[in-house]
Symmetry: C2
C-alpha cells in the first residue's frame, strides 16, 4: 500500500465492537471501555466522550525484505472477512533504547533473533493484521496493531501472542495494552 | 535523538531567514515567499497569512547502520552555529514505486548504489543537517531536509546537491523544491 492511511480507534460507550477484555500487559494501563469504533482518518478526540482515542497511520514497511514481503502478501488475508468476528487491538510503546538502535541492529533483533515475521507467518491465513504507526504523530504509543480472526482461531491467536512475548524483541516493549473485541452489530461484517 | 521533534517551516512575509531563491527542481512548484521562520512543534497554518507552512518530525533512523551512525555522529556539527548564516530547506516527495519497495531494496538504492551517506560524509563538518519526515503526517512532501553552512562553504554545498542529483536514488524523486536562505535578523545566530 503506497499511500499512508490514517485511522482512529475510539474507545467509549458506543461502536460495533464490544470490548471482551482490556488488559495492561506491561506499563501504565488504559481506562476500560465498553465498546470500540474504528474510523478512517483522524477523528476528533471529542468523539470519545467517555473513553479515549488512539490515532495511527499505515506506512511503508520498515524491516521486511522483498523475499519476506512476497510470502506475506501471498498468505495474508484481507481485513473485514465476514467470519472474522473477533479482533484485537494491541497498542505498544518501545523503549528509548530500542529507538536509539540503528536500522541494522533493530532488524537483527526483529527477525534474525526474534523471528517476528517467521512466527507470524505460521498463523496465516487465520489471522488478518494491519500495523499503524503512532510514534511520529506524537501519540502515547508507538504502534497500534489490529488483528482479526474467526472464533475458531481464538486459541491459535493466544498462542501467537504468547510466542511473541517470549522473544528478545519483546524486551524492548515498555508499555503494552491488549484489547480483545467481539463484533456485535446489526450489520454483518463485510469485506472492506 | 530518541524523542520525535516536530517543527513547522512557515514561509511568508516575516521571519529571520530571508529567501535568497526558491526553485522547483522537479514537479509542481511552491509559491515564492520573502522570508521563513522555523518553529518548534506543529504551528497553525494560519501563521502563514501570505505563504505556506510545511510540517515535519524527526524520527528514528531508517537506513543507516551502526557503523555509519558512529562516523556520522563523530563528524556532524550541531545546528545553530553562529557562522552558519546560510541555510537550505529542501522538501522532497518520492514516487509510489519507491514506497512500494521493501526495506532491503530501498537500503540498496540509498547506500550500496547511491552512496547517500558516504557522499554526505565528505561535506562534514561544513554542512549541518536535520531530516524531518512528513509523509505519515499527511503532508504534500515526504521529507523536509534542513541544512546550515557558512558563506565560505556555499560552493561545497552546491556540489553536494549536484552529486546527490546524479545518483540512482534521485530517480525516485518526483517533486523537489530547493529553498536557499540567508540569516537576516538583529540577533546573532546562537547554538541551539
Amino acid at each position: 500500500m503506497a499511500m499512508p492511511l490514517h485511522a482512529t480507534f475510539v474507545g467509549g460507550a458506543t461502536g460495533p465492537w464490544q470490548v471482551d477484555r482490556l488488559t495492561a500487559v506491561r506499563g501504565e494501563d488504559l481506562p476500560v471501555v465498553e465498546r470500540l469504533s474504528v474510523i478512517e482518518g483522524r477523528a476528533s478526540a471529542l468523539l470519545a466522550t467517555t473513553g479515549w482515542t488512539l490515532w495511527g497511520v499505515t506506512s511503508n514497511e520498515r524491516y521486511v525484505t522483498r523475499a519476506e514481503h512476497i510470502v506475506l502478501v501471498e498468505r495474508q488475508p484481507p481485513l473485514g472477512r465476514p467470519e472474522a468476528t473477533r479482533a484485537a487491538l494491541i497498542p505498544v510503546r518501545k523503549t528509548d533504547q530500542w529507538w536509539n538502535l540503528s536500522q541494522d541492529e533493530r532488524r537483527a533483533i526483529f527477525e534474525e533473533r526474534s523471528r517476528h515475521v517467521s512466527i507470524g507467518l505460521e498463523y496465516l491465513p487465520a489471522v488478518a493484521r494491519r500495523l499503524f504507526h503512532s510514534r511520529d504523530l506524537g501519540e502515547p504509543f508507538d504502534f497500534l496493531t489490529w488483528f482479526e480472526y474467526a472464533p475458531a482461531d481464538a486459541e491459535a491467536f493466544e498462542e501467537l501472542v504468547a510466542r511473541l512475548h517470549e522473544t528478545e524483541e519483546w524486551f524492548s516493549v515498555e508499555r503494552e495494552i491488549d484489547i480483545r473485541l467481539v463484533w456485535d452489530a446489526e450489520t454483518r461484517r463485510r469485506p472492506l
